[in-house]
């Protein structure tokens, strides 16, 4: 069966690949949005954090023999702790000044982190095996579904929607949203806002690291793997706007799928399609799909 001259299984497998990438975009832009909401910092280091997540996973196996499943928890934990250190030592000094400095500071951080890893491991990629439990593929009749890719999509969506649920529907999330609106007032009600800010940053980084672990078996783990990611995610954020959690998730997924489809129909444009969509959105709806005009 063909659709526009493309065999259906090929189309579906690219669609799945797009969903996998879209899941990463969703998790990363979600983290960016949460951090930006409370800290007023656009975390340029998010791409480097994604890389750290994958790198720590690989190191866990290479140096300590720790497998995929423990690292799925350990890697975000390690990276989250690293985030706490960064927030305490660096970020908290710049909350009161122009947002641009937050971008520049985290940009510097990115260069340091990536540079350090590159000076140790070079720029070539490390391979990481798919965990045994998820290797192979399932025959769905009309296509072969690679188990690991399906797991990535399911795990990412679960994490994304849990985050959405916590922020939008629970008491803790209410504090968080209140802190985004008016930190002074929330502090006056006896809530430890600096602690909340610190943990939010750590959580945002842990999310990116989680995406990194998920990505480890499906992409080349290299010190520079976060670079194309962060710029694409910035475009995603411009398209979706950072105001809405659900908006971030949906925009991320959608753009991943569009990218996957472009790879089928017009491969030359697959690297640029997200940016082209950004241009179109800026022309038609400058505030972004889910954004509010300020």
């Amino acid at each position: 069966m063909d659709i526009f001259g493309i065999p259906l299984p090929a189309l579906l497998s690219q669609l799945l690949l797009g969903l996998v990438n879209g899941s990463f975009y969703a998790i990363l832009s979600l983290g960016l949005a949460v951090i930006f909401g409370l800290l007023n910092v656009v975390n340029f280091a998010h791409g480097a954090t994604f890389m750290l997540g994958a790198m720590v996973t690989w190191m866990g196996f290479a140096y300590f023999g720790i497998g995929y499943w423990p690292m799925l928890i350990l890697s975000p934990l390690v990276v989250g702790l690293f985030g706490i250190v960064l927030e305490r030592c660096l970020l908290r000094w710049i909350y009161k000044i122009d947002q641009l400095y937050g971008l520049l500071l985290t940009f510097g951080l990115t260069l340091v982190i990536e540079g350090l890893f590159r000076s140790i491991y070079g720029s070539s990629g490390q391979a990481y095996d798919v965990p045994e439990l998820l290797s192979g593929a399932t025959n769905l009749g009309f296509m072969y579904l690679p188990n690991y890719r399906a797991w990535v999509v399911v795990a990412s969506l679960t994490v994304c929607f849990s985050t959405w649920f916590v922020i939008e529907k629970t008491k803790l999330g209410a504090y968080l949203r209140a802190g985004t609106e008016n930190p002074k007032l929330v502090e006056a009600f006896g809530i430890n806002v600096p602690l909340m800010v610190m943990l939010t940053y750590a959580f945002g980084l842990a999310l990116a690291a989680f995406a990194g672990v998920l990505a480890a078996p499906v992409i080349q783990i290299s010190p520079l793997m976060g670079q194309p990611m962060i710029i694409t995610v910035f475009a995603v954020v411009v398209i979706g706007g950072m105001g809405s959690i659900m908006g971030s998730i949906l925009t991320g997924l959608m753009l991943g799928v569009v990218e996957g489809l472009t790879r089928v129909f017009y491969p030359e444009a697959s690297a640029t399609v997200v940016f082209v969509i950004m241009v179109l959105v800026l022309l038609v709806k400058p505030a972004g799909l889910f954004g509010k005009e300020k």
Binding site: G108, E114, L116, L282
Partner: protein
Amino acid sequence: MLKKALYGLLLAGLLAAPWLGVYPLFLMKVLCYVLFAAAFNLLIGYTGLLSFGHAAFLGLSGYTTGYVMQTLGLPPEVGLLAGVGASLVLGLVMGILAIRRQGIYFAMITLALAQLLYFVFLQAPFTNGEDGLQGIPRGKLLGLLDLSHDLTLYYVMVAVVVLAFLLIVRIVHSPFGQILAAIKENEPRAISLGYDTDRFKLLVFILSAGLAGLAGSLKALVLGFETLGDAYWTTSGLVILMTLVGGMGTLLGPLVGAFLVIALEDRLGDIGQGLASLTGISWFAGLGESVTIVVGLIFIVCVLVFRRGIVGEIVARFKPLRT
């Protein structure tokens, strides 16, 4: 008075430098980046717009100049004009899109657009992909001056860069520049005073793009090659660093910053060797390979404790004396 003396001294230094044993090629490279950073400073320092995509202009104009001179065989003045023209057009397009959003989004949009252009360069046939353009001829300026002599090219460049610098000074001190300052300090206020701030922002963006393009064209002419690295976002980061280190919103800041950063890139290997023999830590010996780490650290330090930059600090020190 003091200022005029300082500028005079700088110019004299520039004119004399090749005779004092400084390599003209190094100086010319510095001059290119000085112009690049000064063009960038027009946005961040005088209008408050952070462009994270200025590499696009450096790359586009470099490729254009290279293509016009190498493949079409046209003289350097045409090459430079073509490069600047291409950057102006790109500045118009990028500007129209980027000014649709404010603040931090402006930075993200320019970054994404520059990345879009980078991918175009990567795939387009005229850039030679990963290899880049090699062996761009320097030609004869106006059919008279043979630019293949480093010294001749050096003095031509000094003239061009000084003129461009004067243009920037003129822009900053013009009524137009004052409106830019108003936009930087308080955009809603400028709007309420009746200024169509978008138009001013777009115009200064195009001007900055054109000047950055001039820097890119000159760079291609001086070095004789053009590669993808110029269009990559690390270059955008580098020009931000130069301006930040030197002092945003000061006229001489980009000059100082560009010189320091290029000198650092050039000498880092030696500095690393020195540190390694001094401290006995062999890791330092590889410092030359790890420019990004050092650049990143300088970024962090500058943002945390040194936001005014070198020239900005000096100006702030001397300000109380003047009043």
